[in-house]
Every structure is written in C-alpha cells, then in structure tokens.
Symmetry: D2
Subunit: 477 residues, 4 copies
C-alpha cells in the first residue's frame, strides 16, 4: 500500500523504535488508561477485565515481528490490531476511548527520556562523589594553575578538582529543574483539546509516575520543553567536560607534565619511551563533541517546528537522542576513569612554580601586611627582585630605598615566605587552597552529594512506587 521507500525509510524505523525504545511505556500507558477508564465508569468492569486478558497475553508472549508487518502504520496500531484479534472489536475498541496517538506518543517519549535522565543523574552524582574521593586522596598535592596558558599561581590538586565539582553540581541542579518540566503527564490532552468524556487526568498522571498533568492541553502537545530542557543540562555538562579535558591535556603535556596517568590509560610509543600520550583525554573531547552534534542537532530541529503538535514524528528525534545518549554515557565512563586514576607530579609543579616566580607575589603581600608598604610599592620592589634573578642583596637594597629601613627578615625567613608551602598555607580565605579552607569545601560538597542523592532517589522511588501501585491495581482488575 505504502511506497516501498517510504515504508523502509520511515514507517519501519518508527515501528522498530516502538518495539525497542517505547514498548514498555506503551504497555504501562495501556494499563494506566484502562484503570482510569474503569474507575471513572467510562468502561464497565467486564470490558476492563476482558481488555486486561488480551493485554496480558500480548505482554506475556512478547513476540513482535522484527520488521513492520504489511498494512500497519506503526507499532501502536499493530498492538491494537492483535488485541482486537484476541478479544474482539467491541472490547478492544473501547480502550482507545478518550485518548489519541498524540497524547500517547508524547507520553511514551517523556517516559523514555525520564528513565534516561534518572540514570544520568545517578551517574553524575557518583561522578561527583568520585571527584570528592580523588580530591581527598590527592589532598594537598601541589599543582600550578594557569591563566591564558601561562603559569599563574601554585595551588593544590584538590582545589583544582573541586572547582569542577561545583560546576558539575550546578549542572545537576539544572537537570533537576529540567526534570520537573519533563515530569508532567500529557495524557488526557487527546488530539489537542482534551475530550468530552469525564476522564481523570490526575489519576492517569499518578499511574504513570508523573508529578502532575500538563496544565493546558494544547501545551501538552506543542511544547518542546520535554526534550529541549533536558538537552540544556546535558550540553552544559559536555561543555564543562570538554573544557576540563583541554586543560588536563595541557597539564599532562610533555613540557608541562604536572598530571600523570597510569599505563592503562596511556598509549606508549615503542621507540620513544618518554612519550606517554594520555589520549584518553582527547578521546573524551572527541566523543563529547560528537555527542554535542546530536544534542545541538535536536535543538535546531525543535527550533524550527511551528507551534503545532511536536510529537507525532518525534520518534526519530528520540531515537537520535538515544544515540547521543550512548556517547554521553561513554564520555562519563571515560571521565570517571580519568578522575579516579589521574595523579600529580608535584616535583614538576614545584619547579615550574619556582622558575616562573609565581610565589613572589606572596612576598609582596607579606611586605604590605608587615612593613607598611602599599601593594603597588611592594610590587615594585619585587619586580626588581625578580628581574635581578632573585638576588636577596638587591631585594634588601630596594627595600631600604623605599622604606628607609633594613629588611629584618633573614634569608631563610624570606625563602620560607617564598615557598610554595607558605603560599598555600596562608590562603585561608573561604574558597582558597589552604587545608582549613579546603576542609570546608569538602564538607560542602559532601553535603551536596548527599542532598542530590536524596533528591534523585526520592524522585526515582516516587515514580517506581507509583508504577508499582499501577501494576498492583491492574493485576486486581
């Protein structure tokens, strides 16, 4: 009936998506809708029982053609057809009362995305936890932080890594916000405008594990937020990971060499043993970039759909989402490998910090705090000190010129002030790398991980319990 090309390139794709991605959600919608129709007296108990009988057979058999059968438009209509074959037209036909493929499709898609987003949130939180664990394990290990590719300050690896933790945490908040927009039930919107049957949208929403029904029925069918909102957080995560990998690559490069990876993450050249290429960092970037292609592509797609129903054909984008999602998970798995196994070459960091004079600024600050010099005055002395190749003699001369006094600190004391240990130790201000300050950061992040976990678990279990209840009630039909 349908053109062979159309059938192959469109209908069959949709059918296969139905049998793979959406099957379990489709059956859940059948159950939920059936329960509600019966409870509201829209179909009678006998019909409901009979429909249940048919559905049970189909679900139990779980045997569907691999390719779209002839004279079939999609997987849902195929189910309708075999249900009719089992229980007859009169009863099977009643199940489609007060609903439409429009609201049903939207519902499948949302439930599919919802499950993916919950898995993602668990995974992100465990990534956050791995960051915290590794930051604590490497606590206090020194590393140089750069600005614009130039060594700027000595700091610690835990300070560095927890900075990323905060970004990840913020991204998770974004995902939780988007989840709330996603977790609303379209059922009952029917084609667009609801129905004249006195259905109970609230109870179907509950049966499907949603928080509430979508308010306006046209909105249920036209809004793109169920798809574009989850993308928002995902894209931010990919973007932050890409940025971190770029920086870690720099820190792990031959010349900078402050990060170190074990052999199982490194590709070694047979001829140049000193060449230890942690290409995993680059692979994460590439896979992030490819995932980004999927997610940006979807955003563009939804951008250009008129404000009419967004769903009917949306199995193609949802399938596409599922492909991008695979890359996303791969990226996160690789990232966890990196976080768990990265180590620090403190000696390299120490040397670079000293050679590039990154701690002299602390001596300037010391002068300001202890010798009544202004910041700019102190820096002028230090500037000459650095230019002289760190001559303490010259330092004492310049100090005398500016202040009229002798610099009373001994050479050893000056060396102590200039030490990387001291640089870190004095940075006790909230957010700084000193141990005291980091302790607070650790506690904060630990607290956030717990809160996150509790919110994710709570969300997850609420959905699961609702669906459990649906199954229970359904079994009692």
């Amino acid at each position: 009936m349908f053109s062979e090309i159309y059938k192959k390139n469109v209908l069959n794709e949709t059918y296969v998506n139905g049998t793979t991605l959406f099957k379990k959600y489709l059956f859940l919608v059948q159950k939920a809708h059936l329960l509600m129709l019966k409870e509201e007296g829209i179909i009678n108990p006998e019909s409901a029982k009979e429909i249940k009988r048919g559905l049970d057979i189909i679900i139990e058999n779980d045997d569907f053609p691999e390719e779209i059968p002839d004279n079939t438009e999609d997987f849902y209509l195929y189910i309708e057809k075999i249900l009719k074959d089992i229980i007859g037209e009169k009863n099977s036909g009643a199940l489609h009362t007060a609903r439409s493929r429009n609201d049903m499709d939207m519902t499948f898609f949302k439930m599919y995305i919802r499950d993916n987003m919950i898995s993602l949130m668990y995974m992100l939180n465990s990534t956050l936890n791995n960051i915290l664990i590794r930051a604590k394990e490497l606590r206090g290990k020194k590393i140089v932080l750069y600005t614009h590719g130039q060594p700027a300050n000595i700091s610690t690896f835990d300070h560095y890594l927890t900075a990323f933790a905060y970004d990840l945490y913020e991204n998770m908040q974004l995902i939780l916000t988007s989840f709330r927009a996603l977790n609303k039930s379209p059922m009952g919107a029917c084609a667009i405008t609801t129905t004249g049957f006195q259905i109970n949208r609230k109870s179907v929403s509950d049966y499907l594990g949603f928080e509430i029904p979508v308010h306006n029925s046209y909105n249920a069918i036209v809004s793109s937020h169920w798809m574009t909102y989850p993308l928002i957080g995902i894209k931010e995560i990919l973007s932050d990971i890409t940025r971190l990998m770029a920086d870690m690559s720099h820190k792990a490069s031959t010349e900078v060499g402050m990060l170190w990876f074990p052999d199982d993450l490194v590709q070694i050249s047979s001829i140049m043993p000193q060449k230890r290429n942690p290409v995993i960092l680059e692979h994460i970037r590439i896979q992030s970039g490819l995932a980004m292609g999927y997610f940006k592509g979807m955003e563009d797609l939804f951008l250009n759909a008129p404000y009419q129903d967004i769903n009917e054909l949306a199995d193609a984008p949802v399938k596409y989402f599922s492909e991008g999602y695979k890359y996303l998970i791969s990226v996160l798995e690789l990232l966890n490998e990196v976080i768990t196994k990265v180590d620090v070459n403190e000696e390299k960091a120490e040397n670079t910090a000293v050679e590039t004079g990154t701690t002299t600024t602390e001596l300037a600050d010391y002068f300001v705090r202890n010798h009544e010099l202004s910041f700019r005055q102190a820096h002028e002395i230090l500037s000459k000190f650095v230019k002289s190749g760190y001559s303490k003699e010259l330092l004492r001369e310049e100090f005398k010129i500016k202040t009229g006094k002798d610099l009373k600190e001994s050479d050893d004391e000056i060396n102590d002030i200039l030490s990387t240990d001291n640089f870190i130790k004095v940075r006790k201000v909230y957010g700084g790398p000193s141990p005291e300050s980091m302790e607070k950061i650790f506690d904060e992040i630990e607290e956030k991980i717990k809160e996150n976990f509790s919110e994710i678990k709570n969300t997850d279990e609420k959905i699961k319990e609702k669906i459990k209840n649906t199954d229970k009630k359904y079994s009692e039909l």
Copy 2:
C-alpha cells in the same frame, strides 16, 4: 608601544567597553572593596579616607578620553593611574591590595549581565501579563488548531494563547534558576587562589548585592556558567517565539485567514487590497534568528575555552552579548505588539472546522457515552457518515446496523452535537478549552504572574538595598 593594529582592534575596543558598559560597576567594586579593606583593618582609616577623596573626584568629573590614551592597557588601569595622580602612590596603591584584575573583571561582567537579566525578567512577566489580558479579551473566540499543518480540532483563542503562556512561564523559571547561578560574588578569588590577607569575601559580596561568594576561588575564575546559564533561558524564549510566529503566520495566511491584524501592523499592496501581509510576524522570526546567532556564537566560544580563567578577555563576548540583547528586546517589543493587537476571524475558523469535519469525532464520542458503542465502532460509523458527505440518512442506517437500534436523536440534536459550540463546551476536563476549564487556567496564570513579579521584585530590591547601603557606608567613610 603596542602595535597600532593591536591597539585599534583590541585594546581600544576593551577600553571603550570599560567606559560604556562597565564603568558604574567598576566604581561600585572600588567602593565595596575599600569598605571591606578598612573594616578588616587591612588599610587604615586615613588611607581609606584619602582613597575615597580621590575616587570621589574621578566619579564626579566623569570625564574619560573617548579613545584609549597612550601607554594604557585598559580602563581599569587608567583609573588606577589617575587616582595615583590625585592622591599619590602610597595610598592609591593600597586599594589594589588583595584583589586582581581577574576577580574584578568577572565581577563587572556578572553585574552587567545581572542588570540585563533583571530588566529582561520584568519584561517577560509583563509579556506574560499581556498574554493573559489578551486571552481574556478574546475569550471564547473560536479558532481551529492544527496538527502537521492540517486542521485537527476547533478550540478557542484563549486556549491557544495560554498554551504559550505556560511555555513562557517555564522559561522564566529557567531564567530565575540561572540567575541564582549568576548572582554569586567572585571578589576575593584574586588571581585564582584568594590571598593571604584576611579579607572578608562575604561582606564584599553583600556590598555588591550578590547572594553569596562563589565557593571555590578557582571556580570563580574558570566557570562559564555566569554567561552560559543566562543564555539557556534566552535561547528557549527565542525558540518558542520563533515557533509561535511560524504558527501565527500560517493562521494569518491568505488561505487560512483565522488571525487578523490591524492596519498598523500590516503592509498592504497598493494593487491587491485583499493582500494584507502581517510581515511583523516574519520580522520577529528574523530578528529572533539573528539574536540566536549571537547567543549560539557565545555558547560555542565558551565551549572551547580550556578550563582556565575565562574572564580576562571576556569583555568582547559581553559586548557581543549586549548586541544580541538589543535584538532580543526588539523581538519582545514586537511580540507584545502582536499579542496586544492580534484578533480572530471566527467565521473563517467556523467554516474551516465544519468543512474539514473536525467536530465529527465528538459525535462518535457521544455515541460511545450514550449508546454503548466502543470508540472504534463509533468511529467506523462516523467514517462512513463523513465519506457520504454528512448524510444523516446513512448515519441512521449505519447506526442501526452496528447497534440494532434506531438512532433516537433528531437531526437538530445531531447538528447540535456536531456544532463547534458543543465541541468546546463539553471539553471540561482540566486543561481543555471549555469556559470552566479556561477559568482555572486564567487563575493559575494570574497566580504565576503575581508570584513571578514578587520574586523578581524581591530579587531586584534586595540588590538595590544592598547597594544603597554600600553607598551610605561609603559616604560615611
């Protein structure tokens, strides 16, 4: 000193951005930082007084070269230089204690974006309010809703327009979420790692109207969220508006003709008076698209920056943001014109609804509810009825065949059931277009507008009060 090209194409641009976009924030940062330094005993009261004297002169004169002066790197250093000219090196130099251009720049940029986002939120909420007002004014006016460009259901204009209101509301929630990520103070991060001075990051944060200081000082310098998060909500808004305009263009087209715009929004052809082209809809799409170019461009830019300090050069992106923001405001102004002035051609909607048989589905539902037919059975009868060209005779015949009974409803009663009025009236389910249902929707949206307004105003005033307090304390230095 600097290459002429570099000066013209880079430094001067940055300087001019300083004197235009960031000047007021720069002076506020000077005040806030000075207050804190004095309160924490890092500089003495006399120095503080003297610095205040110098700053007051500069602020009062408010006279800065239009182009970057020679031997100047940026606007901030220019200010530092003239302050030194007024009050001498010793005191002027003290002001830069325990801070860096890194944390300062980030702070300027965030405050600039913050002011823009607050204005935007007010404007969005007033747009939401205009939608509600117009929806109420046109309450009950009938319109056909389409799926995939095909007439699907008759509904009302208020049902249609409030669907968009929910999307807009959700976008505002997103913006409020992103605002919370934005409204954190970077000050005290200094170059990257805070400082050895015992500064009070909390009090500077308060003086600048921020909610809290950024937790981790490296995060304060590297995170891109202050810029990318606001873009998220803006892009969703532009996307939804683009979608709505595409749909309104369709509804306003010659053949569909259900939306009508007054002459002041229409370009008329001198020769074809029936040609009334509401090109404003297309202009909104185009300007949205151009704005999108800016905002996507920025996202891409931040995506590719390594996880190192993001700010120093970011005046170029912030300037770019300000250009995109102009388009955004223009789009919203035009959208408000459209919403406030759009009208409905009910007759056209009624005719199309009837000609395309969009209400026959309601008769099917009626049969299900009143004559014990299953949904699919009823639809089979109706399908034949439609194919016959709406022959009531055939309808009665088919009914008898399926049910064995006579259809007792009169032709007039059938016509009533098939009427567009009835179609809308019976859709009383939550979210549907019936007057009762819409009343709830109106109430909900009104409530949301109030809540929004109160949150925006609260946020806005909290910032303003904090800054007022800063000015007061500063004046008493």
Copy 3:
C-alpha cells in the same frame, strides 16, 4: 593491559571501524606502498614477493576477530602482527619503511569519504534527472507561486521545479570543487615531515587513484579540508531540500491544496477522508535536520582542533560521518519519491490565482505597452478595478479619466488578458514560465546533467582504472 573502560569505549570502537569501514582501503595502501618501495629499490624483489605472499593469505582468509584482541592497539597493528606471524619479522618489518600511521590513517579516511562522495554525486545527478523528467511530464501545469506566504504570481510547475534544479546543480558544482580538494594523496608525509628514504609520492598517489600528492607534508597531516569541504556541499543540499519541503508542505496543505500526492505517500485518517496528510514531506525535513546535526557536529569538532595532526583519532568522526550519510541517502531516496510522484491540482491553482487577483498586474502592463500609460498610472487604474470587485464598467471609467480616451478592448479581450494562460504565455523573457522560455531551461538543464554525468563518470573511472592497474601490477610482483 589497557583499562577495560578505555578498551571498550575507545580502542574496540576504532578496531571495529577498521574491520568494517576501512579494511579494503588498508589493503590497497599496503599494495600501493609495497609496489613503490620495490620500484624505488627501497626493498628488494624477494622481500616484496614474500610480503605479497603474506598479504595474500590475510586478504584471502578475510577472517578477523569481531572484538579487538588483547594486546592490540588497533586494526592496522593487528594486521602487522599476523603478517609477522606468517612471513617473519625481517620481511614483514620492511613494509612499514617510509610511512607512518599518520599518513596511512589520513589516506584510509580520504578514500572512504571519496567513495561515499562519488556515490553521492551519481545519486544527485540522477535526482537532477528525475526533476527534469517530472518537470517535463507536468509541463505547463499551472501553480501559484507565493512570496511570504501570500499568493503572488501564477506560474507553471516546471518553472517552479527547475528553479530547484539550478540550486541542486550549483550544489553539485560545490561538491565537485570539494572533491578536488579531497582527492590528494597524503602518503609519504609519514609522521609529519616525509622521510629520508627516496620514496616516490607521485607513484603511490597514482596507485591509490589520487589526482596528486598533497603538496606540503605538514598540510597532509593537519588540514581538515578533506572532511570539512565535503560537508559544505552536503549541508547546502540538506538546507535547500529542507526549504523545498517547507514550501511543498505549504502548497500541499488542506487550504492551499495545489500539490497532490498519491495514496502510497499519504497517511489517511480513518475518520476524515478529506484529510490526506503527505507526512513524507515532514519526514524529509526531520531526517534532513537530524543529518544536519551530524554534519554540523563534525564541523564544530574540526574547528576546535589545534593546527596539529587531525587524523589519528579521526576514525570516530569518520564513523559519525557514515551515520549522517545514511540519513542523507534516506533523505535523497525520499526526495526522489516526492519528485517522481508529486502532482498538481491545477483547478485549485487557477481559482486561487483568480480570487487573489494575481493576474491584474498583467492588465496594467498591457495598458503600459499599448496605451501610453506609465506603469504607476496603470497600476492606479487597476487598483480601483480590483477594489471594485473587478467591475469592467469602473475600469472603463477610470481609463477614460486617466487617458481621455475610451478603452477600445472588449470585455472578452480584457478577460483574455487577465487569464492565467495569457499571464504565462507573455512571459517569454529568459527565465520566465512561458513554453518558449522553459524550452531553453530544459535544454540547459539537460546539458548540465550530461556534463555532470560525464565529469562524475570520468572521475570515477579514472580512480577505478588506476586501482585496477595497481591490482594488476601487484599480482605480477
């Protein structure tokens, strides 16, 4: 040895790509390189023979593990290892003289893309041919052309469809240009800087079917053009198709109804027989959009790679390209269905043209040509005529007022001038819809198709002959 996650998520993917996408190119590179090494006297004839023996066994067996074997980095090194097992280290080791995985990988990727681009070019040219055939079949069938969604001019379907043909033709020229940039051999660049062996890059280039070797050896390794240039033309094609589908959807919509599709491309509603939804148009748009996601994602990926070697990891992007390419082919297959089966509802076009007065402008032009009125004067008369509801009486009055003369044409003559037939007939200017003018267009396009075909075939056969020669010479080794 390698981390399990790294092996699963990275190495195995690459290995599988090797065994599927790149295998045949890898063996061709082995042959070409071997021939050259022997011809230049870099390896001796006996070694060459022995290597050939080993390769032949491997190629004949064609049996490689489905998953990456342990202690293997990639497919190429796996081949090297089993070659060594067969013929011993001394000879097998010689094959890797004067080459590197860098230039080899680049070469595989380019050959893979090259084959895809040639297939694409054939397919595009046959699409162009289908357009020409269908345009001729529907020659002269009237259709209204729109500007900004408003009826503007009556024209013919062949005029409409051949406009797209020119865009497609131009895109093919772009692809041919990009093909020339693609079809250059990287071999001999080795890691980056060529080699001290006196290899012959020209002969390897010939053996692999390339036009010339890449000039600068660093360019051979760093340039992204082999990938980004083909994307350029593909993206233009997808963009033009998307635009055409948007317009065809409009022309096929219920209200406009000028395009008609046979039942095998239409999804029909069981209840609304008048609802004939050619969703194939929408599916083409969606699939184009998804394909676009892939291709834009790749562009972004290459944009952000530093100007260093681009290839080593590029099997991931090439795999990704192959996924996008599948969508592209699906889109083109569906497009050909649409082009071959689309039909025109002339009556609808005629009615709309008349109702919206699209031909009155021709009467104005007639007045200008025959009655010494200026264009604007004529249009003022016509404007009143239209506003009057086409009153010939008023037309004559207004004509007399403006010209002082009676309008001598009879009502029938005026009707003839206003007819859609006349409107089209008089548009004999080059590029217009009149039969004479279209004849030239047809001839031009036919000529272009022939030229294209000849260029594509020539390119294709040149490559095939070169490779045939390689196989022949190799067999004689």
Copy 4:
C-alpha cells in the same frame, strides 16, 4: 500609520540600511534599468531624459532624512516619491516598468556582498603573500612539530607556515567558486516570473557588472546561495585561523616557548618579567569565534526559510553580515600582524627535539638504508638505545646482536646522523622541510599568489569597466 514599535524596530532599520549600505547600488540599478528600457524601446527617449534629469538631482543633492519619514515604507519608495515630486507622475512612474522590489532588492544585496567579497579576496591574497615573505625570511629556522600535543618531528618554520598557506589558498579557491554563484543578475525576474515586456536581462546584467543573468526567474528570487555560498569560504577561513592560533598559542606558551613575539604584541606582567603573554593570539581566536557566531546565525536563518522569495526582508541579514564582516577584517588584520612579526626560538626547539629523542627515528632509517635491517628491526635497536639514555655502547652491542656485524660508524658520525640538521637535510621528498623541497613549495605558492591576484584583479576590473560603461552611456542618455 504604522505602529510606532514596528516603525522603530523594523521599518526604520531597513530605511537606514538603505541609506547607508545600499544607496550606491540602488542608483546604479536605476541607471542600468533606465538604459535598457530606453534601448528596448519600452520607454521613449524623452521620458528617459526626463527621468535622468530627476535622478541626477537626487544623486547630486545626496540628502536624505536620517530617520524614516512618515508615510514611507522603505528607502526605495522614498526615492520614487521624490522623483515623482521633481519630474511628475507620468515619467517617474515609467521607471518602475518591468521590475519589482523583489528583483531590485536581491540585486542590491548581491552587489553589496560582491564588493565585500572582492575586498576580502584582495586581503586574503595579500595575507598569503605575507605568509610567503615571512616563511622565506625565517627560512630554515628549526621548530618542533607536534602531534596530539606531544613533540613529534623537528622541522622548519617555513615548512610549518606554508602548510597553512595551502589551506588558505584552497579556501580562496572556494571563495572564487562561491563568487561565481553570486555574480549573476536577478534583474528581470520582477516579482517572480519575469514580465510580459520584452526586456533585455542580458544587457541589465552587463550594466550592473554581473557575469550572466540568473537562469530561472524563480531561482533568482528564492535561492539562498548568494548569501550562503560566500559564508562557506569565510567560515573555513575562520576555522583554519582558529586552529592555527590554538597551535601558535601552544608553541608560544611558557613551557614550549618556540615562538616569540615582539613587545608590541605582548602584554607583560609588571612583576613577572619572564611572563610574556602574546594574548593577541587569543584575541584572534575570540574575534574569530564571535564572527563565526554571525555567520553561523545567518546560515541557520536561511536554512529555515521556505523555498519562497528570500530577499524582501533580507536587509536585516545583510546588515548582520556587515557586522560579522567587521570582525572578520579585524581578525585578518591581527593575523597579518602575527604572521609578519612572529619569530622562532631555535634553541628551545633544538633542545626539545633532542630531549624528546625526536631524531632517533632517523638513525633507524639510516640503519635500514645502509645496513640491511628491516624498519621494525632497526626500531627495536633504537628503542633500547633511547631507553638506555642514548648509550652508544649499548647501541653498538644491540646492533651486533641483530646483525652479527660491528657498527662501523664512529660516534661523531652517529651524532651527525642524529643531529636536527641532518634530520631536515635528508627530507628531500616532495613536500618535506629540506631546503630543496621547500624551494619548490615557495615557487608553487608564489605562482598561486600570482594566479590568484590575476584572477581577482581580472574579476574586479571586469566589473568596474562594465559599470564605467554604464555611467558613460547613462551620461549620454
């Protein structure tokens, strides 16, 4: 008449674009069209003279309101109005015979883009020339080339820089191709379908400096290629520049330190004299990124326009193009600064090359060429040599084990083979860094620059001569 908001946000913008970007093209179209109308006898010589008189006054006065006057839709209609005021309706009205704002607008836009593209091509060719000059000036200066951020081969700066030259050259070919698609005249397409007047599209095309008229008149109005094709080449250029800057930043970083920039391109830290930050590289990346935002935004915009006329509103995108173009020019100016002033720190390159053993591979190759070892065998010896810390003793031992012979080369000879000088010297293969090979590259590029220049100049002058001819003929009207 028009809504104030609409006037301010839409009409006035368009009007101002008319008076700034498009004015000169508009007047040229007036002249060209007038000449053709007269030559074809469509208007009589007296009218033509009178129209010329009016136009001359307007052009000479060159005085147009800064803001859109009341009751005006756009700049073109304003000109029509004042022409009518000067020469009366009868004659002024004749000028608009056989044309439309559709074809005129398209023509203005194309001519504007054309001028920009010609300037760009000159600038690109002079950039190419600067690359060649600088490559020759720094000829032979050694530099390490990297793969994946790891030192790989020693090479020369001229080898490195000319690699980019080939990419730039290829991009210019792309721009020249796109220029051919751009340089076709839309005039005579009128609204869409040409006209019944027997106009001469060819002569108008010539008068306006176009190559040929667009073939199909609908294509003249709907195709987006005039805008999207130029973007293609521009985006490739920006992408390649971005990639080069990323790599140069790496090479100029503190630790790598092989590229050096003079003080006028460097921002120096007052306290850390060793910190020499060539932020110009980063600024080029940022400005490229922002320009990319514009150009990608435009691509997206055109992607989503239905296949109907593309031009009427396109002044907004063209204006937007002009903003992106400013960034593009700034990027190119900065790039020329970088290319002209960059220098090489050979010592650093030499040290890194030696420390990372990048030349040992040459000793392996030497063994293969001179001592009958296979490539893999030689590499195994070398691998041990490197691991031993370059012990010549061990080298000799291993050589003996593998070959059974003594290594006859002296330590000095081995050192020579391992020298960076030798590494470069032996790479005489086409495309390699040896002086002989580079000589050929220089010659090739020089040839290409000349060819480019001649093609650009030829194109430019052909247009200028045609327009000169138009002015001459017009003056003789």
